[in-house]
């Protein structure tokens, strides 16, 4: 999570003076430019842009140096003035997010003034010290890393959700305080999530397992029952990591993750970090790590090799993370909260509401993040908190949901027992949606990107010694 308290920005008065200077026709050409890259722009870029705009990251160009940044000056101006960048999609009327990536108006003004002045470099001596970014493409500087086996993603076809288990990479009781997941080929990863649970004798290590999901010729699930991966009984397929041999049997998978996937890679999601709120996820010694993988074919066969980085603590932080679906084995498994089987988006519908989700809070918790998830037809999502006295309050509205930027919106909202959360997704199945693969299709619930869902993910903290059992009941 980014701390904004250390932001370096020009005071507004100085900025206005700078803009006025650059606009003044009588300004002396021999005078130093008022707004320069090294003095004014570089601090803004360091704080807000370089995490993605540096070699090896997702940004299409580097902003580490003046020479690298200068050819993009006008495009940067356009992106920040229109607030297209940095990516942040929450309605600003609900300003309680502590990881808000939006630039302050003063920062936007600095960049605009710099570009309007011809993007002068200025004196390199004015530049702040370069940021010491972690090596290896990481953003969190992990204490330890774990590499998943190579996964060959075919050029075409449907890859169902798969699971694979490993011994957790910790030798003793551990608090995980942040996690970063780095796919080798991000373009083919729809999601890669994992969580921890006690080892069971029936859980094999290093074996991918998935259910056969009957589908029609367009890839849509034949039986839409509100689950993403088909029934828990049926044809089970297995493949050892590193092998191409797939075995089939009738029955149930050898293992599930009974709790919630605490950590995820999703397109556009940077990393999970509980350090700023002095919290963590407790992983007892001997736990298993259950990984859920969902790859999407793009037309190009590739081999993905994903790395996972952890920061950890042996000492218990003040608070512990409580996933939405409860702790392992103590609450219902990950069942969808809505009447998902009723989701049916008509052809060419521009603003179709999905089934409403309602979540009841059975005790006091601290809500610390939202991570709404829909697929390529997702248009908007609204979270409405209903207090015990009946008062309603919108706590997150994302008017322009974007599958390629699935952000976590971090906050700190104390929620009282007896409260409810209503979550409403809408969908755009029209030709106006440039990511819509087929506006003429009816779209129903399912786990593939051409199917739809509306998952109102949230995260909660409780005190480290709190009994979290039955804190939340979903319906």
């Amino acid at each position: 999570m980014r701390r904004r308290t250390s932001l370096v920005a020009l005071p507004a008065v100085a900025l206005l003076a700078a803009v006025a200077w650059t606009a003044a026709p009588a300004a002396s050409q021999s005078a130093a430019p008022a707004v320069t890259f090294h003095k004014d722009v570089a601090p803004v870029l360091q704080q807000n842009c370089q995490s993605c705009h540096r070699p090896g990251q997702i940004g299409p160009f580097s902003m580490l140096t003046y020479k690298e940044t200068r050819p993009w000056a006008k495009a940067i101006r356009q992106a920040v003035v229109t607030r297209a960048m940095p990516p942040w999609f929450a309605d600003p009327r609900h300003e309680h997010f502590n990881n808000d990536r939006s630039l302050k108006q003063t920062e936007i003004d600095v960049i605009a003034a710099w570009v309007d002045a011809g993007a002068p470099e200025g004196n390199p001596a004015d530049a702040p010290p370069p940021v010491a970014w972690p090596a290896g493409g990481w953003q969190i500087a992990p204490d330890l890393t774990f590499e998943l086996p190579s996964y060959p993603v075919p050029a075409t076809g449907i890859v169902e959700w798969e699971r694979i288990a490993f011994p957790a990479p910790f030798k003793e009781d551990t608090w995980v305080t942040s996690v970063e997941i780095l796919p080798g080929v991000p373009a083919v990863v729809h999601h890669l999530c994992f969580g921890f649970q006690k080892h069971r004798e029936t859980t094999p290590y290093g074996v991918y397992q998935w259910m056969e999901v009957p589908r029609d010729q367009n890839g849509n699930m034949l039986k839409v029952d509100g689950t993403t991966t088909g029934p828990r009984k049926g044809i089970v397929l297995s493949r050892k990591a590193g092998s191409t041999e797939v075995t089939r049997r009738t029955g149930s998978p050898d293992f599930f993750h009974e709790g919630t996937n605490e950590f995820c890679y999703l397109p556009g999601l940077p990393y999970e970090d509980y350090r700023p709120v002095e919290a963590g996820v407790f992983v007892p010694a001997g736990s298993d790590m259950i990984v859920s993988l969902h790859y999407t074919t793009t037309g190009l066969a590739v081999v993905d090799r994903t790395r996972i980085g952890f920061t950890v603590s042996k000492d218990a932080p003040k608070k512990k993370f409580l996933p939405q679906d409860g702790a392992e084995g103590e609450n219902p498994p990950v069942a969808r909260q809505q009447a998902n089987a009723t989701l049916a988006i008509p052809p060419f519908a521009e603003n179709h509401p999905g089934p409403m989700a309602t979540i009841d809070f059975m005790k006091d918790v601290e809500l610390v993040w939202f991570r709404p998830h829909a697929h390529v037809r997702g248009k908007s999502v609204r979270y409405t908190l209903i207090h015990p006295d009946g008062r309603e309050e919108d706590v997150l509205y994302v008017p322009n949901y974007n599958f390629n930027w699935q952000l976590t919106y971090r906050t700190s909202i104390p929620i009282k027992k007896g409260s409810k959360m209503r979550v409403q997704f809408t969908y755009d199945n029209s030709t106006r949606n440039k990511y819509n693969p087929d506006p003429s299709a009816w779209v129903r619930y399912g786990g593939q990107s051409w199917e739809e869902m509306g998952t109102p993910n949230m995260g909660f903290l409780v005190d480290q010694d709190e009994d979290e059992t039955n804190a939340i009941i979903e319906r």
């Binding site: 299409p60 020479k67 690298e68 000056a73 495009a75 991000p186 793009t298 037309g299 390629n404 440039k434």
Partner: protein, 248 residues
């Protein structure tokens, strides 16, 4: 090339060190004629972009743009039409004296280039884009008529024929970015007409001033290269989710 443009090329070359992998390549047109090009591969895989040069220059006029696109995650192929640059040989040695013969062969040369590009093992063959300059504008539009995997066009200072206009009008899924310089003869009107015909809501036109013709604009307006890269990132995503699923 101006001094400023040369500096920009140098900067891009330096910053390209992380990802750019470029190599000169040759491939044959259907009639066996050998065409020369430069292929810039995207190591993690990605869409492919074909660069079609204007008829008073060769593929080198796109060197800077190719590197910028490649750094942004794209596979890029620039090549010399027969009679230009490294593709001179046999009966095609001088475009000015063989104009009609060369133009007649251009569609086949473009098809060969698209086939070569799509066959590279880092290219998502169903996600292609084309940049065309001047006489390359019509070739880019005609290429998208023949090849449905061309999903967006960037057109610099040129026009098209009636078939091309009809195609643009009918292509609701083909966003077009058109650019011309205001003083450049009929180019601004041609580009405005093409973009105006486009049925895609995101298509747009950008008019520059005193920027020259086609790829010359890249040298005179150093921001244009960035605009083109941003266009492609928005309309030909390097991830797979801007595309229909590759079920079959």
């Amino acid at each position: 090339m101006t001094m400023r443009a040369a500096i920009v090329v140098g900067v891009v070359l330096l910053s390209a060190g992380v990802r750019a992998e470029q190599r000169d390549v040759t491939f044959n047109a259907a009639d066996g004629f050998t065409l020369q090009g430069t292929f810039y591969s995207a190591p993690k895989g990605g869409p492919g972009i074909l660069l079609l040069h204007q008829c008073n220059a060769d593929r080198r006029s796109y060197d800077q743009l190719a590197l910028m696109l490649n750094n942004a995650g794209y596979n890029v192929l620039s090549f010399d039409f027969r009679g230009f640059g490294g593709s001179r040989g046999g009966q095609y040695t001088d475009f000015s004296s063989q104009r009609q013969a060369v133009v007649d062969k251009m569609p086949g040369d473009v098809d060969a280039a698209l086939t070569f590009l799509a066959s590279q093992n880092t290219v998502i063959a169903r996600a292609l884009g084309v940049v065309g300059g001047s006489c390359g504008v019509n070739q880019a539009i005609q290429a998208s008529r023949r090849q449905p995997d061309v999903r967006t066009l960037v057109l610099l200072s040129g026009g098209t024929n009636a078939d091309g206009e009809a195609h643009i009008q009918a292509s609701r899924q083909l966003p077009i970015f058109g650019v011309a310089s205001e003083e450049d003869g009929g180019a601004p009107a041609s580009i405005k007409k093409i973009v105006g015909l486009s049925a895609h809501p995101d298509s747009r036109v950008q008019m520059l001033k005193n920027a020259g013709h086609a790829a010359e604009m890249l040298a005179k307006q150093e921001d244009l290269g960035a605009d083109i890269v941003i266009w492609f990132r928005a309309n030909l995503p390097v991830g797979g989710y801007g595309l229909p699923p590759a079920i079959r």
